[in-house]
């Protein structure tokens, strides 16, 4: 007998039929002899409906009150799911985040979980009840309702799994696991049976939307085994676990990509110490996140060229800031490109294998894909290419590293 935390997202509970279907999945788990704690999101569309109500009043609703509003979405789901479970003859108890003291900081709309009180839940489990907890929400030390930001229900599930020392935290979603890459881009993408936390973190931060990155960080930190499964089908999904628990480790686990990139370059900056921070400080002061950074010596060897990437939404704002800085520094020219994408290969296996990078660059070169920027970490290599090459680059690398379905 194990203690399982299951999390069902908005699509999985998007209608009464689907809620009944989720109830059956939960009951099946309990019938296998397990204790089950369930975390649910708002029914799909509900959060958008609530947001629209507030937006009809103002574009910038008071953050505290906005959380009071949003948290009702999950509260509706916990009650409906518990009603469905009770109706099928299985004792259930719903709890809002505040009711089980999911203590957070007071950063409304994007609060972080500090602590979870597991007493009530343990008492209910001991009585044979299924416990249904509202995801995405908590309470701060002043008793205010808080929410964790979009996707926060995953984090709630992992936090509960940690507090309850659960054997597994199962994230039910509309896909049946983590894939080697997005199957919409590469039809030969393959579901992974297992992936380690570090790889999953890279995949998530590089654009894979299966899991919210904070929940993976949380799970990794507290060693909670995560499993991604489909709410609609059967199957064992993908297990996300510490590296040492993953038996057979592939060299490369997956190909991630992001379409949200834009590139900014300042040409002919006088080359002197501290130039990088002079260029980047105004950008970060404007709350623009910078991803990849490259600095090269200019053609005249007295100036330098400086390039960095930002989120595409920040492109215009970044361009204006950089233009101003360039004038101040007496740089020659500012150029930019918002039609670029980032493609990355991820795998803990590359740590111990030389030659992975050159294998990647060769594969892309063989298809005539020009690499504009390169960035590497211990377990990933990212390249920036023209956006027209996105699908070709992903498929080329997927094949080059032998990730196809058998």
């Amino acid at each position: 007998m194990a203690l399982i935390v299951q999390k069902y997202g908005g699509t999985s509970v998007g209608s009464i039929d689907r809620i009944n279907n989720v109830a059956e999945k939960i009951i099946a788990t309990q019938k296998q002899g397990h204790d089950v704690v369930v975390v649910v999101s708002a029914m799909s569309g509900e959060t958008d409906r609530l947001v629209q109500l507030a937006r009809d009043i103002t574009i910038a609703p008071n953050p505290r009150e906005f959380d009071v509003l949003l948290s009702t979405g999950e509260q509706v789901t916990i009650s409906l799911l518990s009603i469905a479970l009770e109706e099928k003859g299985y004792p259930a108890r719903s709890y809002t985040g505040p009711q089980v003291h999911i203590l957070t900081d007071s950063a409304f709309n994007k609060a972080r979980i500090l602590d979870v009180d597991n007493k009530k839940i343990r008492a209910d489990l001991a009585k044979g009840r299924i416990v249904v907890v509202a995801g995405f929400q908590g309470i701060d030390s002043e008793g205010n309702i808080t929410t964790l930001g979009r996707g926060g229900s995953d984090t709630t599930a992992v936090a509960l799994a940690t507090a309850l020392e659960a054997d597994e935290c199962q994230i039910y979603t509309d896909v049946d696991g983590v894939y080697t890459t997005d199957p919409r881009v590469e039809p030969y993408a393959r579901r992974l049976d297992k992936i380690c936390f570090e790889e999953m973190l890279e995949m998530a931060s590089l654009g894979s939307k299966v899991l919210q990155i904070r929940s993976v960080e949380f799970a990794s930190k507290y060693n909670v085994k995560l499993r991604v499964l489909s709410s609609f089908g059967e199957g064992t999904g993908t297990l996300i676990a510490p590296e040492d628990e993953i038996m057979e480790q592939a060299l490369i686990s997956g190909i991630a990509f992001s379409r949200d990139e834009a590139k900014l370059t300042v040409l002919g900056v006088p080359d002197k110490p501290g130039i990088a921070s002079q260029i980047l400080a105004p950008v970060s002061e404007a709350n623009i996140e910078v991803d990849m950074i490259i600095q090269n010596v200019g053609a005249d060897k007295k100036t330098t060229d400086f390039t960095f990437t930002v989120h595409r939404n920040d492109y215009q704002k970044g361009l204006a800031i950089l233009q101003k800085t360039a004038n101040e520094l007496g740089a020659r020219e500012v150029i930019g490109d918002e039609r670029i994408v980032k493609v990355s290969i991820v795998g803990v296996g590359m740590r111990s294998h030389a030659g992975i990078a050159s294998q990647m660059f060769t594969a892309l070169a063989n298809e005539g894909i020009n690499i504009q920027m390169i960035s590497t970490s211990e377990i990933k290599i990212s390249v920036v290419v023209d956006e027209k090459y996105l699908e070709l680059a992903v498929r080329t690398l997927h094949s080059a590293f032998g990730l196809e379905k058998k």
Copy 2:
């Protein structure tokens, strides 16, 4: 400077426009120098929507979980109203029932308020904030969410007014006060400036839907001045206060009526002690409420005829039970009539005036209206008549006691 509790019902907050309108009313009150605490219901239609979601799962949802569901309705309203107030530049704080410890018993779906903690609210008022509290909901001693039953927001408002020792509890609704009778039946009905608690209680229990009866009982018990006003218009509404604070007291304050009546009669029951309880016990065991009761000696003087009224919804069930009892008692016959109505005159003035009853009966007789049953209390006289006479009886009495508009 006074402390005012204002309550706005579902229609008053039924859209974003109306919520903005309510915000303006609240701000106007605060600008007059008052502290304002606001209680709101769910937006009109929202509770029905939530009920339907549960009904799509089962006709008998688990009561605890049903309250978790329903309580989200008011939570949406408190947040939207607070967002609107903040947007207009007036600091506001919303609280759910549990957040301000509106402690109730554990009778889910129809809980009763036991206590209210006013500390948080007082602290906010001291900071100049407008406090917005969710009506209709509370928390039991175990930390479960409870609801007070339909109309419970009025009770929340009165309970808060009591706990805060407010100067007045204003109930904003879609009518502009308490009328001498329903203006849809009697176009000459007149708004009352003042009415005393006892009269209001009789009016409410006799069918006037302006206020929830429990809230009037509560206000009467704790001497909270109530005022019924329109959310949409101006005007001072109707003040409901202790009898000794109402200066000029009319003989009769209003004409109440109820269309929800049905009559059951058992004829020729052997007349012996305890017969009434033998007849009524099975009825009350079936949870049917009995209103008026009449027992007459039968024509043969050895048997008796026994008549009582029930809610029209309980008529068929009551008839079946009475038929069974009649067989056991050897009664002659059971008859019934579900096309009757009850019309009542209410007024504390009648206590000290003889002849009110005969004035009432004469007025009805002059119009050829046959009285089927009579019941009286200190401050009201009710008669049962054929339903076809309802409007005529109401108008006749309204005129006979001089209640018309001037």
